[in-house]
Amino acid sequence: MSASLTTGTRRRTGDLVFAGGTRVASALILVALAGVAVFLTVEGLPAVDAPADKLGGAGSLAAFVWPLLFGTLLAAVIALLIATPLSLAVALMISHYAPRRLSGPVGCLVDLLAAVPSVVYGLWGIAFLGPRLGPVYAWLEQHLGFLPFFAGPASSSGRTILTAGVVLAIMALPIITAITREIFAQTPRLHEEAALALGATRWETVRLAVLPSARSGIVSAVMLGLGRALGETMAVAMVLSATSGVVTLNMIGTVNPSTIAANIANGFPEATGLGVNALIASGLVLFVITFVVNFAARAIVVRSGRGAPG
C-alpha cells in the first residue's frame, strides 16, 4: 500500500477540540437567547394573578402593561419622526455631499454620539434640554393648544414625553445614520454617473439613483432605530416625569405615560414579591416587541442583500 496521506491522530484531536469549542460557543449564543425568553416567561407568569397593589393599582396584568406599552410606542414614534429625516440627511451628507476630507471625521463624530452612555443622555436631558424646552411647550400650548398633542397644561420643567422622544431621537440617530450611510455608499456607481452624465443635478442623482437602490436598507435602518428607541431605559427613566396608568396623546403636559423600560428601572429596586414578577412580565412584552422589530428589520436586510446584484 502507498503511504498514508491522511493526517495523524494527534493533529485530528487538535482539530476536533478546536472545532468543537467554536461550535459550543455558537450554540451557547442560541441557548442564551432562548434562555432570555424562557427565564422571563418563568419569572413573569406568576404575575398573571398578582393583586392590584403589586400592579401599581391596575386591576389586571393587561391593564398594568397597556399604558406602559402605549407610552413606549408613543415615545418611540416621536423619536423616529424626528430622527429619520435628520439621520437620512446626515447619512447623505457623509456619503454624497461632504467633501471627501470632511466625511471621515464627520462619520467619526456621529459614531461618538452613539458611544455616549445613556445615563449621560438622561442627565443632559433633565438638566439642560428639559428646562430649555419648557418655554417652547408653553408657546406650543398657547398657539397650538387646539391640537390634542399640545393640549397642556404645559410642563415648565420640560420633563414630558416629547422631551423623552427628543432625547431618544438623538440616541437613535447614530444607529440609523451608520446603516444608511453604508447603504448609500453602496449605490451602483454607474447609476450615479449615468444620472450625472444626463445632466441631473446632485439632488436629482440622489433621488433617481441613490434612494431607490437604498429603499429596503432605509426601512431596516429605521426599524433598528425603532428597536433602540423602544428599549432605551435610563434616558427616559430620568427625563420623564411619569404617572402610572395614564394613556394620553398630550405630549407636553405634566401628566405623562411611562415606558416599559423606564418603569422597570424606576420600580425594580424597590419592588418585592409579585411586584417583581409583574415588572419582569412587562419586560417580557418589551423583549417580544423588540425581538419582532429587530427580526423583521434583519430579515429585510438579508433578503435585499440576496436580491441585489453583486
Binding site: G14, L33, A89, C108, T233, P269, L279, F287, N294, R298
Partner: protein, 377 residues
C-alpha cells in the same frame, strides 16, 4: 461663451432652416444663435453670501425684537433656506433651486445633529470639572453625609463588572466568529447564528438585566444582587458586538494565506491560531475595545442586578456592587440634602465615565487605523 465659436451653429427652434454661408453674403449673417450649453450660475460664494446676508438681517431683526441668540439662529437658517433657493430660481431655474434647497437642508440637518453632541459634552465638562479632585477619585461614599466622598467604589465596581463581562464575552464571541468564518460556511447553523446575533444586538439592556436577575433568582433566591449578575447581563449585550466585529475582521484575511498554510500541511486549527488570528489581531482588538466601550456605560442592567451601595465591594460573587452609571443615576435622582452636592458628584462621575468611554473609543479607532492591513481603497 466666446470660446465656443468652433461649434456648428444650430437653429434656436426646430422649425428654422439653417442658413448656410454660401446662400447669404457673409456681412449679412446675423449673429448665429447658439443653444446655451451652459446655464447662468450663481457665483461660487453664493451660499456664503446668502448666509451672511440672512444672518445680518435676522440679527438686526432679533436685536430689535429681542429674540435672543436662539431666535437669531433659527430665523437666519430659515431665511437662508428661503433666500438661496429663491435667488437660484431667478438665475438658474427651478431644478437648480431645488438642488440648492436640498443641499442647504442636508447641511442644516447635520448642524442640528451636532448641536446635542457639542452641548452635551460642554454641559458635562462645565458641571463636572469642579467636582474632580484627588478625594473624589480615591474615596468611597461610605458614611458620607453632605460634603465630601467620592466615586472610588463606583470605579472599582465598574472595572470589576466590565472585566468579568469581558472575560465571559471575549472567548465566546471570538470562538463564535471563528466558527462562522472558518467552520460554518454557508450551513444552516452558521446562517441561524449570524441572524440571531444580529437580532441579539437589539435586545434592550434592561431586558438583559431582567434575564440575569431571573437566572440568578433560581440559585440565590429572591432579591439577589451581585456583581457577577451584572457581568452576565453585560456579556449578553457584549457578545453580539464582539462576534460581529471579529467576524468582519476574520473575513478580511485573504484566503491565499490560509491556502498557503494548508499547502504546507498545517492542520486547520494551527492555521487559525498561527495565521488567521495574528493577521487580524489589530481589528479584533479594536472590535473588542469598542464592545467594552459600549457596555461600560450601561446602566439599566446593573441597576436591576448589581444594585447600589455606598461602600467598596471587591467581591463579584456576593453583595451589592456600585458602578459608575448607577452612581450617576442615584446621585442625581436621589441627591440627598442639600441636593447640590449629590448633583455635583453626579456630574463629576458623568465626566469620568464619558472620559473613559471616549478614551476607549479613540484608542480603539487609533489601533484599528494604525495596524489595519492596507486595502486597495
Amino acid at each position: 461663451m466666446t470660446e465656443l465659436d468652433l461649434r456648428v451653429p444650430v437653429p434656436a427652434t426646430p422649425g428654422d432652416v439653417p442658413a448656410t454661408p454660401s446662400d447669404v453674403p457673409a456681412t449679412a449673417v446675423p449673429a448665429p444663435s447658439y443653444p446655451p450649453l451652459t446655464r447662468r450660475r450663481l457665483p461660487r460664494s453664493a451660499p456664503w453670501l446668502a448666509a451672511v446676508v440672512m444672518g445680518a438681517a435676522s440679527g438686526i431683526a432679533s436685536l430689535s425684537l429681542g429674540w435672543g441668540v436662539l431666535g437669531w439662529t433659527v430665523t437666519a437658517v430659515l431665511g437662508h433656506c428661503v433666500a438661496l433657493p429663491a435667488w437660484s430660481r431667478l438665475v438658474e431655474g427651478s431644478r437648480a433651486a431645488t438642488d440648492r434647497l436640498v443641499t442647504t437642508l442636508v447641511w442644516v440637518a447635520f448642524g442640528t445633529a451636532l448641536v446635542p453632541l457639542v452641548s452635551l459634552v460642554w454641559t458635562v465638562v462645565r458641571n463636572g470639572a469642579p467636582a474632580l479632585d484627588a478625594e473624589f477619585l480615591t474615596y468611597s461614599m461610605r458614611n458620607v453625609v453632605g460634603e465630601g466622598g467620592g466615586i472610588y467604589h463606583a470605579i472599582t465596581g465598574t472595572l470589576l463588572v466590565t472585566a468579568a463581562a469581558a472575560v465571559i464575552s471575549i472567548p465566546v464571541g471570538l470562538l463564535t466568529s471563528i466558527y462562522l468564518v472558518e467552520y460554518g460556511g454557508r450551513g444552516r447553523m452558521a446562517r441561524t447564528v449570524t441572524f440571531l446575533v444580529d437580532v441579539m444586538t437589539g435586545i434592550p439592556s434592561i431586558v438583559a438585566g431582567l434575564f440575569a436577575y431571573a437566572l440568578f433568582v433560581l440559585f440565590f433566591g429572591e432579591g439577589v444582587r451581585m456583581g457577577l449578575g451584572g457581568a452576565v447581563a453585560l456579556s449578553l449585550l457584549m457578545i453580539p458586538v464582539v462576534v460581529r466585529s471579529c467576524e468582519e475582521m476574520l473575513r478580511l484575511v485573504p484566503d491565499e494565506l490560509r491556502e498557503a498554510a494548508y499547502a504546507l500541511g498545517v492542520p486547520k486549527w494551527r492555521v487559525i491560531v498561527r495565521v488567521v488570528l495574528p493577521t487580524s489581531m489589530a481589528g479584533i482588538i479594536t472590535g473588542i475595545m469598542l464592545a467594552v466601550a459600549r457596555v461600560v456605560g450601561e446602566t439599566a442592567p446593573l441597576l436591576v442586578i448589581a444594585g447600589s451601595t455606598d461602600s467598596v465591594n471587591l467581591n463579584l460573587f456576593g453583595e451589592r456592587m456600585m458602578t459608575l452609571p448607577v452612581f450617576i443615576y442615584y446621585s442625581y435622582m436621589q441627591p440627598g440634602v442639600p441636593p447640590e452636592l449629590g448633583q455635583e458628584r453626579a456630574w463629576g462621575a458623568a465626566l469620568v465615565l464619558i472620559a473613559i468611554v471616549m478614551a476607549l473609543n479613540l484608542l480603539a479607532r487609533g489601533i484599528g487605523r494604525i495596524f489595519s492591513p492596507k486595502t486597495g481603497r
